[in-house]
């Protein structure tokens, strides 16, 4: 029984870290992608989407919105799947 508990815990832990690392990688890619665009693609960011709104400003706001979406995805996953798996382990 102890063995199976350990095995189930490490399976939950492995999934939790896979989700965490994937979401962290997504955040890093979005933010440093934005920084690299600023550094190497200035003319692209200067392009206007509509009068007054440059692509750069839009992407800057989208970096913040993406942060919200990623935290929402994690909290949603953790509140349902992760907590349920932990609940089964505690039984």
């Amino acid at each position: 029984m102890t063995d199976s508990f350990e095995a189930r815990l490490s399976a939950v832990a492995a999934t939790r870290w896979r989700v965490a690392i994937a979401l962290t990688a997504a955040m890093i890619a979005v933010y440093f992608g934005f920084i690299l665009l600023i550094a190497y693609a200035r003319p692209v960011l200067a392009r206007r989407i509509i009068p007054g709104l440059s692509l750069g400003i839009l992407l800057g706001a989208l970096v913040i919105v993406t942060s919200w979406i990623l935290t929402w995805v994690y909290v949603r996953w953790a509140n349902t799947r992760y907590d349920a798996a932990l609940g089964r382990l505690r039984e």
């Binding site: 350990e6 815990l9 490490s10 939950v12 832990a13 939790r16 870290w17 989700v19 965490a20 690392i21 979401l23 962290t24 955040m27 890093i28 979005v30 933010y31 440093f32 934005f34 920084i35 690299l36 600023i38 550094a39 190497y40 200035r42 960011l45 200067a46 206007r48 509509i50 009068p51 007054g52 709104l53 440059s54 750069g56 400003i57 800057g60 706001a61 970096v63 913040i64 919105v65 942060s67 919200w68 990623l70 935290t71 929402w72 994690y74 909290v75 953790a78 509140n79 907590d83 932990l86 382990l89 505690r90």
Partner: protein, 526 residues
């Protein structure tokens, strides 16, 4: 609007009034909290009774410093798009805090992040190294806040620099000393609500003048000051500088002691998780509003007027408030900026006091043999000591260019605290020697490289060039700290310490009730 018409720098009755109300309210909260602060659990962690919503607002309060409110609004108003790089950079660390740090920290530690790193390693060396990283981060952040406070208060209230510093110091000591974490938390909540409310009001008043369209505001800015203000400019002439600063902001957030400490104030890991979700929402909204405030100040006040009042641009938001709502609104925003600084220094002081008393005195010096009364006494002595140190540092660095110290604090947090925290949570084979090496090397290399960087050599010491090219060293020092921690752990494996990882993992996910005793996690082979 002319610079000469601004009443900034003159004693402002409304500002004094708002400020007096803020001080009276927060001292009232402190009196209430003091009667509930009897043990170290109350003093450091508010008895773990803070709700996720309250902690989310308090996290935002701890994080949104005057540097980000006044500094970013100023930067956007004088440079346009380039300032927005900072607006985004200050937020992107929060998802990382949520994904990697918040829940394991809550489940593994008690009061400080050293609790987590030391949980299955040798207490004494790990806690000394972690305390060095904590105190370095806290000190530099504190100097930046104190010097900023003295200058701002002199500009906005017309009172002398030293008097302003002493007022900040005395109020901050009163909150922490008597009210501990409970009072500090509520000071953060009051401040966060004032700051978010003030910024939202400013942003709405700006948008009302542009037909409720941000694009119309940006278009007006481009029409007045050229298309360049809407796209990247000279601030990012060196791409690696932008990446390095980005690393410091992103990963430093996840290593700031006063932020990490807040996760111990909630009842459990799920509450810690929810509180970061709220904090990310609030902080993101705030930085989105800085887009509007910055461009609003650019169009309505003008970069030349803003620089004329204060060369750094820090008065953009107060000037915008004065333009939109006259002297009373200026007074309100000035009082909010003061409240912001007070709240941040209180949080910093409490986390520094926890490192000194919980990590160094109770764990290292007294080997966990101090009784509850002694622990609380030492924590309070440390609070007063740090408060006085903050005042002295603030006066010592008067008139110095200390803007780089916030970046330095983030770089140390990213290079000393964050790698040790992540490796101890994730990596079975992490050893005491590896942890100590990565924390000490992270702190020392950051300090050394910032000394040789253009930030200090050119901007502060006025030399013509600098040996190290990057303005913020995180791009070098954070990988260095990770590499050193991993290498030392691999070269001198400690099977006894690795054996503790299973118990740590169980507690990290399931919480303390499964594995109540920390002693059982201690290595057996040394």
């Amino acid at each position: 609007m002319q610079a000469t018409s601004s009443r900034i720098g003159e004693p402002n009755i409304v500002a004094m009034g708002f400020f007096f109300v803020f001080i009276a309210t927060t001292l009232g909260i402190t009196y209430w909290a003091a009667r509930r602060t009897r043990t170290t659990e109350h003093f450091y962690a508010a008895g773990r009774t803070i709700s996720p919503g309250q902690n989310g607002i308090a996290l935002a309060g701890d994080y949104m410093s005057a540097a980000s409110f006044l500094g970013i609004a100023g930067l956007v108003s004088t440079t346009g798009f380039d300032g927005l790089i900072y607006s985004t950079g200050w937020l992107v660390g929060w998802p990382v805090v949520l994904f990697l740090i918040a829940e394991p920290l809550r489940n593994l530690g008690r009061y400080t992040f050293a609790d987590v790193v030391a949980v299955r390693l040798r207490q004494t060396p790990v806690r000394i190294a972690a305390a060095i990283g904590t105190l370095a981060t806290v000190s530099f952040y504190l100097i930046a806040q104190m010097v900023g406070a003295g200058g701002l208060i002199r500009l906005m209230f017309g009172i002398p620099y030293e008097t302003a510093i002493v007022i900040v110091g005395v109020a901050m000591i009163a909150y922490v000393l008597f009210g501990g974490m409970l009072a500090t938390t509520w000071v953060q909540i009051v401040k966060a609500v004032l700051l978010l409310g003030g910024a939202a009001l400013l942003a709405l008043l700006v948008l009302a003048r542009f037909g409720w369209s941000p694009a119309a505001l940006f278009a007006a800015a481009a029409e007045k000051y050229g298309d360049g203000v809407l796209s990247p400019g000279r601030l990012v002439s060196k791409p690696l500088d932008a990446v390095s600063l980005g690393m410091a902001l992103m990963f430093g957030t996840a290593g700031l002691p006063h932020i990490l400490m807040r996760f111990y104030t909630v009842p459990d890991a799920k509450a810690a998780r929810t509180s970061v979700f709220y904090a990310t929402g609030l902080i993101g909204s705030f930085y989105l509003m800085t887009f509007i405030l910055g461009f609003g100040a650019m169009v309505l006040v003008g970069p030349d007027v803003i620089r004329g009042v204060e060369p750094g641009g820090n008065m953009a938001a107060p000037l915008l408030a004065e333009f939109l709502g006259g002297t009373p609104f200026l007074g309100f925003i000035a009082a909010v900026a003061f409240a912001t600084i007070l709240a941040v220094v209180a949080g910093l002081t409490l986390s520094g006091a926890a490192a000194l008393s919980h990590d160094l005195w109770v764990s290292v010096h007294r080997r966990e043999k101090a009784d509850a009364a002694e622990q609380l006494r030492v924590a309070r002595v440390a609070t007063v000591g740090l408060g006085i140190l903050g005042v002295l540092l603030g006066i010592t660095f008067k008139g110095q260019n200390v803007a780089f110290m916030v970046g330095l604090a983030f770089a140390i947090a990213a290079s000393a605290n964050f790698p040790a925290l992540v490796l101890s949570i994730f990596w079975r084979r992490y050893t005491t020697a590896g942890a100590v090496t990565s924390m000490l090397l992270g702190t020392a290399s950051t300090l050394a490289l910032i000394y040789f960087s253009p930030t200090l050599q050119i901007d502060v010491l006025k030399h013509s060039d600098a040996w190290f090219p990057l303005r913020n060293p995180a791009l070098v020092t954070m990988p260095l700290s990770f590499a050193a921690g991993i290498l030392v752990s691999l070269l001198a494996p400690r099977p006894g310490e690795a054996a503790g990882f299973d118990a740590v993992s169980r507690r990290m996910h399931l919480g303390q009730e499964i594995q109540p005793s920390a002693i059982s996690l201690q290595p057996s082979d040394n």
